[in-house]
Amino acid sequence: MSNNVLTIRNLSVHYRTDRGELKAMRHINLDVPKRSIVGVVGESGCGKSTLISSIIRLLATNATIPNGSIEFEDRDLLKLSENEMRAIRGVRISIVFQDPMSTLNPVLSIGRQMTDIQYRDNKSQADKVQRSVDMLESVGIPDPASRLGQFPHEFSGGMQQRISIAMALQAEPSLLIADEPTTALDATLEVQIIHLLKALQTDMGCSILFISHHLGVIAELCDYVVVMYAGEVVEEGTTRDVFHHPAHPYTERLLQCDPASIVKKSRTLPTIPGDIPDLVTLPSGCVFKNRCEHVMEQCDTTTPDWTEHSNGHFVSCHRGRT
């Protein structure tokens, strides 16, 4: 029995498009240890959503998985039948999505949606309702029993996100995927939701894969951090290591760009110049070379290996290697 809830090895996902094969994710390695919170950072289009969709196997129909494995509780999810997979979704792996306003069905009551997803349990309707009430209570919805009959639009955005979290944790999954759960909320609510997630995670002993582009949130919440760029994982390690001793130039720049870390007054916000390379016609060598300030000759020709920079801190970069 491995020490990880989720172990992704060498996973690639391609999309068939009119322009050709779009290599959205290439040779990803990722570990989520038990009872830990792992953060995934990266700018838009870096493959975060593809990563989530491939874990729960709800990829778009034009996607293919040419290689790799997703090991979850000692089973390779990619080898499961659709029925076996469905038994995992919402029970062993749950998701909290980004925009709470659109993740709940607008024409069904909260109670209905919360009891619907307990359809596998051989419980009486009253027990299911009770379970929903308890869950809503634990995510801090006041007077939950009377609100079960209400519809999503009758709740505020923050409340809707709490309901989503309640739904996700209802079956006590061992892995919760949180896909930018606080991006659509304002700062005060964001802090509340983060604290709520942390508290529930400690209570239930589940692991969380937390996707965000908000570095502050990641630093506060996560034990480990995975940095993604253009469909590749470029750096992985404990939050302390990655934030204090970034080994990849992209991570360095990302940290510099975080508004929270700006101490000096300046006229312009720092940015990373250049664009993400075209994922259909990938250039050879390192994916970050065209935006890297430490670019070297070998960056243009050879793809950097996935190497251990220090204990448990991995990076794919030619720099600092002899």
């Binding site: 979704r89 919402g90 999505f97 993740t103 709940l104 607008p106 619907d116 359809y119 639009h153 739904m167």
Partner: protein, 298 residues
């Protein structure tokens, strides 16, 4: 209301006295004058219109000048036939069109989807009276499966049902195509929404996702379209009732127009326009019942 005023004005713009036409060329001037008085045609136009609306307020649509019966009685006597016909046609169309649209949306770009797409267009473009003629020709005249004319004996349930089949089919056919296309489009839109992804991510069975979570939303535009489509339905009913010599409001309008029985024309056009307004309101109410978001804004 404006429609009626317009109709009144139109009647009076036309050269020729309706009373004279009604009574034929050999009528004496006295007879024409008394007929005009009975029809209220001797009064100035605005007074006539006002009087019509005044009477309308009391539920009085005026008198049929030929049979001397209240127009309201005649119109409301024919109305149930048309309502049953339209209702049956829509139920028939919905029972086939909505599942077809769902299937097409879920198997997008499959062979079945393409075939149903082409068939839908073919159904939509087929004029109701041509469909009516063909079903009359094939199923009634040639095969004798169903009766050709009338609406069946009063009180004889199965007789009435069998008289309903072909006319309802004639009206419903184009709506099958219409609904199938509509449901397909709105289903595709709904299936792309975030909450469907959520439902799937919670491991709900695909059947539950489609029929409980998606269809309930995808059906909303259908209700609106049927409500607003009452005008088309009435037009189609008119042709169908004529082809099958079936009593109903469409046939009443047609017959009274050919006999220039203006009070009956006015009354039945008014009632059908009211039907249009009622059905639009009704569809709004059904939508509110189905969609809590609309309910909240009412």
């Amino acid at each position: 209301m404006l429609a009626v005023t317009l109709l009144y004005c139109m009647i009076h713009m036309v050269p020729g006295d309706p009373a004279r036409i009604l009574l034929g060329p050999r009528a004496t001037p006295e007879l024409i004058a008394s007929m005009s008085a009975r029809m209220g045609l001797d009064l100035p136009l605005p007074v006539q219109i006002l009087r019509f609306f005044g009477n309308l307020f009391r539920g009085d649509l005026g008198m049929d000048v030929i049979t001397n019966r209240p127009v309201a009685d005649i119109v409301f006597g024919q109305l149930p036939y048309t309502l049953w016909l339209i209702f049956t046609a829509i139920v028939f169309a919905a029972l086939i069109g909505i599942p077809l649209g769902c299937y097409s949306a879920l198997h997008r770009n499959s062979l079945a989807d393409r075939i149903s797409g082409v068939l839908s267009v073919a159904c939509i473009t087929a004029p109701a009276f041509v469909v009516a003629l063909y079903s009359l020709l094939v199923f009634a005249v040639t095969l004798h499966w169903f009766p050709a004319v009338g609406a069946g004996e009063k009180g004889a349930f199965w007789d009435q049902v069998s008289h309903l089949v072909l006319p309802a089919f004639a009206i419903g056919l184009s709506w099958i195509g219409y609904l199938a296309r509509l449901v397909r489009a709105s289903m595709l839109e709904v299936m792309g929404e975030n909450h469907i992804r959520t439902a799937r991510a919670y491991g709900l069975a695909e059947r539950t996702v489609v029929y409980r979570y998606a269809l309930k939303l995808a059906i909303l535009p259908t209700v609106t379209v049927i409500g607003v489509g009452m005008g088309f339905l009435l037009s189609a009913a008119l042709f169908t009732e004529i082809v099958f010599a079936r009593p109903g409001i469409g046939k009443l309008i047609f017959d009274s127009i050919t006999t220039r029985n203006y009070p009956v024309v006015m009354g039945s056009v008014l009632v059908s326009t009211a039907l249009f307004v009622i059905s639009t309101t009704l569809s709004d109410l059904i939508n509110a019942w189905l969609d809590p978001r609309i309910r909240a804004s009412l």
